[in-house]
């Protein structure tokens, strides 16, 4: 697979001087995000990396249109992005499946929402194909509590893909899983990304995960949340788990790690 020349691709999403200020409980102002600007190319895999409280999740919600920024512009395909759109999928840290719905009904939930113009039967085949792809064939009529954590998160990813979105927003999707399941799902996610060519913005606080998955790593620093550096990862694709032991991989992990040891230097 050739390395993408990012400059030649038109950006799917552009953010310009995005700022987010909260009023805290005691009435003070908290700057969650300050002067965040970036572009995300069509089909690109971005990892938002930073310590807790650096505004990663806030930025993801703003990109989703479920949270309104205080100032600055965000555009997706040229249109201002300030409310949820059907061509954005979202995956949370917890699966957030609805306990009273079967696996199939959970995946098809987004089809029933919004203006109601989508027909369920047009998407059932896609849902079943997805379940087959992630090894959950035969689980269609099971309820979430009958599934393991990893299976539940696979269902949640299926739900985020069902409307065939242009962009997937993922908030530490595998953070709650054990290390082995996590590696497995990361590889699976790369496979999905490789075949569907969706743009993915993934929040993580694992440096290794960010380096393993992303085309570019957006480093964020806290108080106030800023985008301190953008690091392109020039590791070949498709990526395999054994690449984690390569010297190049180690080099990226170490150089990114240095930013977090001395946060003053990074800011």
């Amino acid at each position: 697979m050739p390395v993408l020349d990012l400059a030649e691709l038109s950006d799917l999403v552009t953010a310009n001087a995005v700022r987010m200020v909260y009023t805290s409980r005691n009435g003070g102002l908290v700057t969650a995000l300050d002067d965040v600007s970036f572009g995300v190319a069509e089909g690109e895999f971005i990892a938002l990396l930073g310590p807790s409280g650096c505004g990663k999740t806030t930025l993801l919600k703003i990109l989703n249109g479920t949270l309104n920024r205080t100032s600055g512009q965000i555009r997706m395909r040229g249109q201002p992005l300030d409310r949820p759109r059907p061509d954005i999928g979202r995956v949370f840290q917890a699966p957030v499946l609805l306990a009273w719905r079967t696996v199939l009904d959970n995946i098809l939930l987004p089809i029933e929402l919004g203006d109601g113009k989508l027909k369920r039967r047009d998407y059932e085949g896609r849902a079943r194909d997805y379940l087959k792809m992630v090894g959950l064939e035969g689980f269609e009529t099971k309820y979430p509590h009958e599934l393991s954590g990893g299976m539940q998160q696979r269902v949640a990813i299926g739900r985020s893909l069902i409307r065939d979105p242009a962009m997937l927003l993922m908030d530490e999707p595998f953070g709650a899983l054990d290390a082995m399941t996590r590696d497995l799902l990361n590889v699976e996610l790369l496979r999905i990304w490789q075949t569907s060519r969706k743009t993915i913005v993934l929040v993580t606080h694992s440096i290794a995960e960010a380096v393993f998955l992303a085309d570019r790593v957006f480093l964020m620093t806290p108080r106030p949340g800023r985008l301190s550096e953008i690091i392109p990862i020039d590791l070949p694709r498709p990526r395999h788990l054994d690449m984690i032991n390569s010297p190049e991989f180690g080099h990226y992990v170490r150089s990114i790690g240095r930013h977090f040891v001395t946060p003053e230097a990074a800011a």
Partner: protein, 263 residues
């Protein structure tokens, strides 16, 4: 009453305990020669119950009270459910209405029962209304708490996938609130029995409450106990019916144990 997870041995033990208590009661009353006006033996209660059922008198009164209870329960819980949905929709409505709801709840319904009889007449409708006022509040309060119990993440999920307000209400809030609402219904159903009987105490020409007063006036204590047995049967039947409803409705909940309450 069967409880979730009870073994057959425990059920037999429960029944043996009841039989033992009745035997002790029977023998003690007989031995100490207690006046049947003060405390009739269980055998006298059984005979009174049997005769009342055979003559059809108690059956008729049971039917009247049961009708009032069910009618009041349906009216009260429907109002509570609707009111709960309305109040849970916005904090403004809640701030506007809820103080009055609480004020209404703190007034003892027994105290306003004579008023309701004046307004709604001496027939069935006043008892239905009294039963409804008692069943209303637990359903209302549990509906509000249930609808508010939706985790923030589920609301964010619905927002992210462009859910409308009514889609969020029906697809997430309602199912999430159901376990709470069912607890409210269970409590409300038992309170409705109390409401119907209280209404009959105030003024009635029929019903189990009326029959208790009649038996009491004529010092037929065994007759009072016979009616109490019927009221217990009604309460247990309603509670069991709610348990079945709960199992049916909450199909996704693993452990559907019945709610224990005193009342």
């Amino acid at each position: 009453m069967t409880t979730h997870g009870r073994t057959p041995v425990e059920t037999v033990q429960s029944i043996l305990l009841l039989v033992g208590l009745l035997a002790v009661w029977e023998l003690t009353v007989d031995w100490l020669e207690v006046s049947p006006i003060l405390l009739p033996p269980p055998s006298a209660v059984a005979i009174s119950l049997f005769n009342g059922l055979k003559s059809g008198l108690l059956v008729k009164h049971f039917g009247v009270t049961f009708f009032e209870t069910v009618g009041g329960f349906l009216l009260g819980s429907a109002t509570g459910l609707l009111g709960g949905c309305l109040i849970a929709q916005s904090r403004t409505i809640e701030r506007l209405l809820y103080p009055y709801v609480i004020a209404f709840q703190t007034v003892p319904k027994v105290a306003i029962a004579p008023l309701i009889v004046i307004w709604f007449g001496y027939g069935l409708s006043s008892k239905v209304v009294i039963a409804a006022t008692l069943a209303f509040f637990p359903v209302l309060a549990n509906t509000i708490v249930g609808l508010r119990s939706v985790p923030a993440e589920q609301l964010e999920l619905m927002a992210a996938f462009m859910s409308t307000r009514s889609q969020t209400l029906w697809k997430v809030q309602m199912p999430q609130a159901l376990p709470f609402i069912l607890v409210g219904l269970d409590v409300g159903a038992v309170l409705a029995v109390i409401g119907a009987v209280v209404g009959e105490f105030v003024s009635a020409k029929e019903g189990l409450g009326f029959q208790i007063l009649q038996s009491g006036f004529s010092l037929d204590t065994a007759g009072v106990f016979a009616v109490l047995v019927l009221l217990a049967v009604m309460g247990i039947a309603i509670h069991l019916a709610m348990g079945l409803l709960r199992k049916k409705v909450l199909y996704w909940v693993d452990d559907v144990s019945p709610i224990n309450f005193s009342g």
